[in-house]
Chain length 371, copies 2
């Protein structure tokens, strides 16, 4: 079984489904924590397996192709048996294409129709990513889901510039698809997991233009990917625009395949988008904010470094049942953060991840119980 997407229930545009992948089942709508360099920052894998009110942990996590390509190198991970074995995570995983990171290196890159030349942010060394090379790297990493190599247009961009960039994304999507079909048996666990392989998702671009978003979705659907992502959002535009682009694009995506909005968002956003019919989302926010002392709670955002929490003996979120909120106080977390103790990063990240995971769990429970 390489990928199956079983719709369990629909409620208006929202969907409740089970996504079955080579490394396990994922209940959707799902939030996917980001493990950039094959580690969800500061959180051990056993916590990722058990975190959250129901103790179920995360069903799927992300890793970043760009980071793992540079360090430790995709061939090293291939030789280790793939990223699951490398990091000891036996549940589902997804890798991005490296495109977004490469395009973020605005000073260090050069785009041609063939691909992107860029310099490492570590040592300035020169590298080249083409759709084929991104696929090769992602097959070596061996996540359950891999992403087509796309161009992310700068924002704001004119209609003409966006259309041109979108054309490149479509050409690269086809090349990604061709390479994947020819090489997908090369994934490190192909034989071990009964001849199953990775699944490739296409990425809809089109910037903030509805006609281009529709065209991009239609063009990718023609190519027939196992799943579709909506990319190029949450890059600085107003949240209302993000919402509008998602709603508009979803209309053009098939109902029987998973739909993934990349790189969003705040807790209320992921709930909102899931209610609109998005199945999968990822974001660095819970861990990144946590490392800076920003906690997401049922009472809103809370900067645990503030003096007002110095003697607050309540849990970070009194309504939260995560392992952090069951054991520690705001006063203790504030102290850890204030003194620069590494445990601060761990506990704040764990709580924020639990908050995100629990929000989606609550939403799934709501869908399950709906008439």
């Amino acid at each position: 079984m390489s990928l199956s997407f079983e719709l369990l229930k629909e409620s208006g545009p929202a969907r409740r489904a089970t996504l079955t992948l080579p490394h396990g089942e994922v209940e959707t709508p799902v939030f996917m924590p980001v493990g950039t360099a094959a580690s969800v920052k500061a959180v051990p894998q056993d916590v990722m397996e058990t975190n959250g009110a129901e103790g179920k942990g995360a069903g799927i996590i992300l890793a970043n192709t760009y980071h793992l390509y540079l360090r430790p190198g995709h061939e090293l991970i291939r030789r280790a048996g793939g990223v699951h074995k490398f990091m000891s995570w036996n549940r589902a995983m997804l890798t991005d294409s490296g495109g977004f990171q490469v395009f973020s290196l605005s000073e260090l890159r050069k785009v041609t129709p063939d691909g992107v030349e860029f310099r490492s942010h570590h040592d300035g060394s020169k590298h080249f990513f083409s759709p084929e090379h991104s696929m090769e790297v992602q097959i070596a990493l061996g996540a359950d889901i891999m992403m087509a190599f796309d161009e992310c247009v700068e924002t704001p961009a004119t209609w003409e510039r966006t259309k041109e960039s979108m054309g490149l994304t479509h050409a690269w999507a086809q090349r990604s698809l061709d390479y994947w079909k020819e090489h997908r048996h090369e994934v490190p666990w192909h034989n071990e997991l009964d001849g199953s392989h990775q699944s490739l998702f296409g990425i809809v671009q089109g910037g903030m233009y509805k006609d281009l978003r529709a065209e991009s979705a239609e063009r990718l659907v023609e190519m027939d990917f196992p799943g579709y992502a909506i990319g190029g959002l949450a890059v600085g535009e107003a949240r209302e625009v993000t919402r509008e682009m998602i709603a508009h694009t979803l209309e053009y995506l098939p109902k029987d395949k998973p739909r993934y909005v990349m790189g969003v968002g705040y807790p209320d956003e992921i709930v909102e988008y899931a209610r609109m019919g998005v199945d999968m989302m990822d974001c660095v926010l819970p861990t990144r904010a946590g490392r800076h002392g920003l906690l997401f709670t049922s009472q809103g955002r809370l900067n645990i470094k503030n003096k007002q929490y110095a003697e607050d003996q309540n849990p970070p979120d009194p309504a939260c049942n995560c392992m952090v909120c069951r054991r520690y106080t705001r006063a203790y977390l504030r102290h850890l953060m204030h003194t620069g103790e590494p445990l601060a990063l761990t506990l704040a990240s764990e709580h924020n991840l639990a908050f995100y995971l629990d929000q989606m769990q609550a939403l799934r429970n709501e869908f399950d119980q709906a008439e």
Copy 2:
């Protein structure tokens, strides 16, 4: 029950005992991990409760009075109910007197017979520690065991200078004892734990001079402390000298009370000293070394950052059964360390602590099984 020390077995100079304290029983000989600022660096409390081959975790941990006095402040911790509640650690704890840290601030301190004036290493603010104030702070923190306020002589020091410093330590020991006896009912958990209180240990000084060590031990034993520590060792002297001073001093300490050697040491040292009759030891080495990528294993020390481990799919220590060695490879730890992932600190510290705890567990098992 404030403190009981039940000798279970003796084997030559070595002893196997159970130390019962207000927050639990401690099987000795014991290694006490250091939680400087009320956190064993990078290791969550639930791991400290379960770490090690037998899953028993640490029976007792340390916290540093100097650090907690400065941040978050002992009165804040007193109001939180003591350091156990503050950090959510319900097993035994020990605090040092702050003396060693204060004396380490060589540029920033001024010693008088009354006490030590020093400047904070954080902000340069001026503070004063006397024996009475150290006791007051330690009672507010509320660890199960507190330490007398002593002067740690610089090393090397002449016999005369060492004798003079030792005299100050003895005067301060008596003042510590007097204050403790008068105020020990003020510990935050006094009523909650059935009127039990903290226990104060005296600290033998005397530098590297056998006659002074003997005199110091005899003088402190006359004062009748609930337990005795040997301080002022592992401060740069040859290891043979450390060993000789410990062996010599132990002869002057009563057999029916716990004996604690402060701030040692490497894994083979703690085993050696336990075999000589030491009951308690503490050291920052397992966590500090771990944060720098130095792992203690059954095969010796291993710098996990070395390139030779880049593709080593073995556990950090193949003979270790800790949660890190059961799950992760050297290659993964090397990658985490190399990329600066915070998880590297956590996993390396957890393994090193398990290695220390397991060494002492093995020694206790050996003593238990001996004829």
